[in-house]
């Protein structure tokens, strides 16, 4: 891939990016959130079309109109979410795209025996003789499902395999299986592009490392000769200083939220933390580390699954439902804005007043004028760009939708605001505004808890930060911690500190 460029709505996401992988080589692709990794592999695999540049497979220039075309050319993406058919057998999953047939009574029938044999041979070749080709895929472990997925790609004659965080949902033991299979892929001269956040994984299995930053190439390393320090430096660069450069902070008051031994079976393990009024506490973790769970556990969205002690403003609180969390003064902004945040068909005003609808009821009826007045105040306060309170929510930009989701909770009864991935899918300009708003809200006495997989964001806005890894707190930092320090805590890798 050479000179690749792509922009969305006038915003350049990739410019002049290069990436080359040789057969039998594992190329790690690194970059922090928003660096353009996703977009690059989506162009490579035909999900997006490029604006500029060339893509060659085996020296031949190609243009993939859709993912099918990429698959036909031997380029496969293994997305982060495993995509297998759980109710079909291993052999069926592997052979699905090209089922062997035999002559039947007047029409061809699926040749089960040939299919099983073919799949068996493929799995043996990959070194997984232990997987039964007749087993239903849903009965396999997650790692084994991954292997089935890889075998399916090989059955389709894959020449280039793009793996997006293949170990994200796996234990360390299971991750070893994936490394083993990558070894045998190398032996079979498949080119592998390996995307991961885990530095030590990357150093263990890759031959070379390509780093993207802000949609450009930021470094190309030969793994054996590279140090972790220089790779991290290329990945994170200087902190985008102006993004996080604003005044305020440093006036933490009383503890608003205190947890001790907070656990959710299989997700969170004895979390002890506190958030004080007037401060922003950031929690950084990679996907699957527990940052998806922590905020919900405190808020009550997980229901009675949550164990441990939680104090809100000094008194015990059981997070049994979202309604309970709201009643105890917690506001919650979910990561997936479209699915869990906004109500797209309703107006900005209706979205804003929904959590505390009671406040706008006079007698039997809702007072629309009171709602409009409040909505206008919030639009001014947060600088929300909208045609007015009556604009339909779905037509706002991501950043403005997010501000609406924040504004909902700005009533005096809310003491703690929890935000998951507060700037996901938000453009850079609006990001800075959201950070400044969060700071301003904290300065006014709100306790703010931010959960994010964006390490720069957590390092940039937090008064104190925590690092989560596999459900446990593995690092605690004060204001001014560097992104690299947080990242190093999660890779949990003593070698990094030496580098």
């Amino acid at each position: 891939m050479r000179g690749i460029g792509k922009s969305f709505g006038g915003v350049a996401v990739l410019s002049d990016v290069e990436l080359a992988v040789a057969p039998g080589e594992v190329m790690a692709l690194l970059g922090s959130n928003g660096a353009g990794k996703s977009t690059l592999v989506k162009i490579l695999t035909g999900v997006y079309t490029r604006d500029a540049g060339t893509v060659k497979v085996d020296g031949e220039p190609v243009v993939f109109a859709d993912p099918r075309a990429a698959v036909a050319a031997g380029v496969r993406l293994l997305p982060q979410e495993i995509s297998v058919m759980g109710d079909m057998t291993v052999a069926e999953n592997i052979s699905l795209a090209d089922l062997p047939t035999r002559a039947g009574p007047g029409f061809p029938m699926v040749d089960d025996r040939a299919m099983n044999k073919q799949s068996r041979a493929l799995l043996d070749q990959l070194g997984f003789a232990s997987i039964d080709v007749n087993a239903l895929v849903k009965r396999l472990s997650v790692a084994e499902q991954r292997i089935v997925e890889i075998a399916r790609a090989l059955a389709g004659q894959a020449r280039v395999l793009v793996m997006d965080e293949p170990t994200a949902a796996l234990t360390e033991q299971e991750a070893k299986l994936i490394f083993r299979i990558i070894q045998s892929l190398k032996e079979q001269q498949v080119a592998v592009i390996y995307i991961s956040h885990y530095l030590n994984e990357v150093f263990e299995i890759s031959d070379r490392i390509a780093v993207l930053r802000d949609g450009r190439n930021a470094g190309l390393f030969t793994t054996a000769a590279a140090s972790r320090g220089e790779v991290l430096a290329a990945m994170l660069g200087r902190v985008a200083d102006d993004l996080y450069d604003f005044a305020g902070g440093g006036n933490a008051g009383e503890e608003v939220l205190t947890t001790s031994g907070l656990s959710v079976p299989g997700k969170l393990d004895t979390i002890d933390m506190a958030v004080r009024s007037g401060e922003i506490v950031g929690v950084f973790g990679l996907i699957g580390s527990g940052i998806e769970t922590l905020g919900r556990a405190v808020y009550g969205a997980l229901g009675p699954a949550t164990r441990g002690t939680i104090l809100m403003t000094g008194t015990a609180y059981r997070p049994e439902s979202a309604g309970r969390g709201k009643a105890r003064g917690i506001g919650f902004v979910a990561a997936d804005r479209k699915q869990e945040g906004i109500i797209g068909d309703l107006t900005v005003r209706e979205n804003m007043v929904a959590p505390f609808q009671d406040r706008y009821v006079q007698g039997l009826f809702v007072s629309r004028s009171a709602e409009t007045e409040q909505a206008k105040r919030w639009i001014d306060l947060l600088g929300i760009r909208t045609r007015g309170p009556e604009q339909t929510m779905r037509t706002l930009s991501g950043g403005n939708q997010q501000k609406v989701c924040v504004s909902r909770w700005l009533v005096d009864s809310v003491k703690l605001l929890i935000l998951e991935e507060p700037t996901r899918g938000v453009d850079v300009g609006a990001r800075r505004e959201i950070y400044m708003e969060l700071r301003a809200l904290a300065d006014r006495g709100l306790a703010v808890l931010v959960l994010s997989s964006d390490v720069e964001e957590v390092a940039g806005i937090s008064d104190r930060s925590l690092v989560l890894d596999r459900g446990r707190i593995v690092g605690r930092f004060d204001k001014g911690a560097l992104p690299a320090e947080l990242m190093a805590a999660t890779t949990n890798d003593p070698a990094f500190n030496a580098a």
């Binding site: 969305f8 709505g9 006038g10 915003v11 996401v13 959130n33 928003g34 660096a35 990794k37 996703s38 977009t39 982060q80 997006d164 965080e165 995307i195 996907i287 808020y299 969205a301 439902s321 979202a322 309604g323 969390g325 709201k326 009643a327 919650f332 979910a334 699915q339 869990e340 945040g341 906004i342 109500i343 797209g344 068909d345 309703l346 209706e350 007043v353 929904a354 959590p355 609808q357 009671d358 009821v361 039997l364 009826f365 809702v366 339909t392 779905r394 037509t395 930009s397 991501g398 909902r408 991935e421 996901r424 899918g425 938000v426 453009d427 997989s453 964006d454």
Partner: protein, 334 residues
């Protein structure tokens, strides 16, 4: 990877054709229905001299009232993400229950009516329990309930039609206020009440929020299940009242009298612009759709079109309406 790149900014409405821009407006559905309704009135009054008469208009009103009642209550339910296929079967059961309690067991007619309405509420509550607590698909739950309820109605009477002639009671179906038949009056009152409920009250806001995005509603602490539960009960009650009115109108209770109208009820709600995916819709759209379907029925009958062809027409209108809803959803930038 966790990044989600910014989606391209929504193109301004002006770059789409004027028709799509119009379709994209939330109010467009009701306006188009009104235009369609007026056209229908015009066409039929040109073809048939009997159509545009006070007498015929009142006949249409009486005929559509019980369908309108069920469609009125079904609208907020579908807006909130629910669905009730058992409502017409409830209407059938309620009619025969009153006839049996009054005729065979000698109950006071009004006591029997109250019991029947309570039964409607109970059936609605069971629907609600299965869909909200067990999180079952409402299509399956209420389809099953439809079968149970219509079976029960047949069991009660052995499949026979029961006479139900009690002057005071029959007034509900046949009486007039200021020379206007009572059934359409009641229907209009119910529509007005539901419109106020949806537009002006806290509960109404919750209905739209819950249907528009149940996950988001749960996460901001709205009583998602309670809202849906209440609407299932309301739908059950509407079925009961519709059945009571139908029996009073006919002077008899037939177990299967109302069931064929289920399609019309659902068709009216969808035709009226309520999204089957929830979150959007209005009772006024439903009312116009009920009028359109009733008028279509009446006008075709006056012109001696066979009822078989009327079914075909109804189906075509419904499919057109659903296609239009899909186009609208896309115009809204889904």
């Amino acid at each position: 990877m966790t990044t989600t790149t910014d989606r391209p900014a929504a193109s301004p409405a002006s770059s789409r054709g004027p028709f799509l821009t119009f379709l994209g407006r939330p109010s467009s559905g009701v306006v188009m229905l009104l235009v369609f309704y007026l056209l229908l009135l015009l066409v039929f009054s040109l073809i048939s001299p009997f159509f545009m008469t006070v007498r015929n208009m009142m006949a249409i009103g009486s005929n559509i009232a019980f369908i309108g009642l069920m469609a009125a209550a079904g609208t907020p339910l579908i807006i909130a993400g629910g669905l009730d296929l058992s409502v017409a079967a409830i209407a059938g059961l309620v009619g025969v229950l009153i006839a049996v309690l009054h005729g065979d067991y000698g109950w006071n007619i009004w006591l029997a009516a109250v019991a029947a309405i309570a039964l409607g509420a109970f059936v609605g509550a069971v629907n609600g329990l299965f869909t909200t607590r067990l999180r079952l698909n409402p299509l399956i739950v209420t389809l099953g309930m439809m079968s149970i309820v219509s079976g029960a109605a047949l069991i009660l009477t052995g499949g026979l039609t029961k006479p139900l002639m009690v002057p005071g009671f029959n007034w509900i179906g046949q009486g007039r206020i200021a020379d206007i038949p009572f059934p359409p009056i009641l229907m209009i009152v119910v529509f007005i009440a539901l419109s106020i409920l949806l537009r002006r009250t806290r509960f109404g806001r919750f209905v739209y929020a819950v249907g528009g995005n149940p996950e988001a509603s749960r996460l901001i602490g709205l009583p998602v299940e309670r809202v849906q539960m209440a609407l299932y009960i309301l739908s059950g009650i509407s079925g009961a009242v519709a059945g009571l009115m139908l029996a009073a109108m006919l002077g008899a209770a037939a177990p299967a009298a109302a069931s064929p109208h289920l399609l019309t009820v659902i068709a009216a709600i969808i035709l009226g612009g309520t999204s089957l995916y929830g979150g959007r819709g209005s009772v006024w759209g439903t009312l116009l759709a009920v009028l359109i379907l009733g008028t279509l029925n009446n006008g075709l009958t006056l012109n001696n079109v066979s009822s078989f062809w009327q079914d075909v027409t109804k189906g075509v209108v419904l499919m057109l309406a659903v296609s239009l809803d899909q186009i609208r959803t896309r115009a809204l930038g889904e």
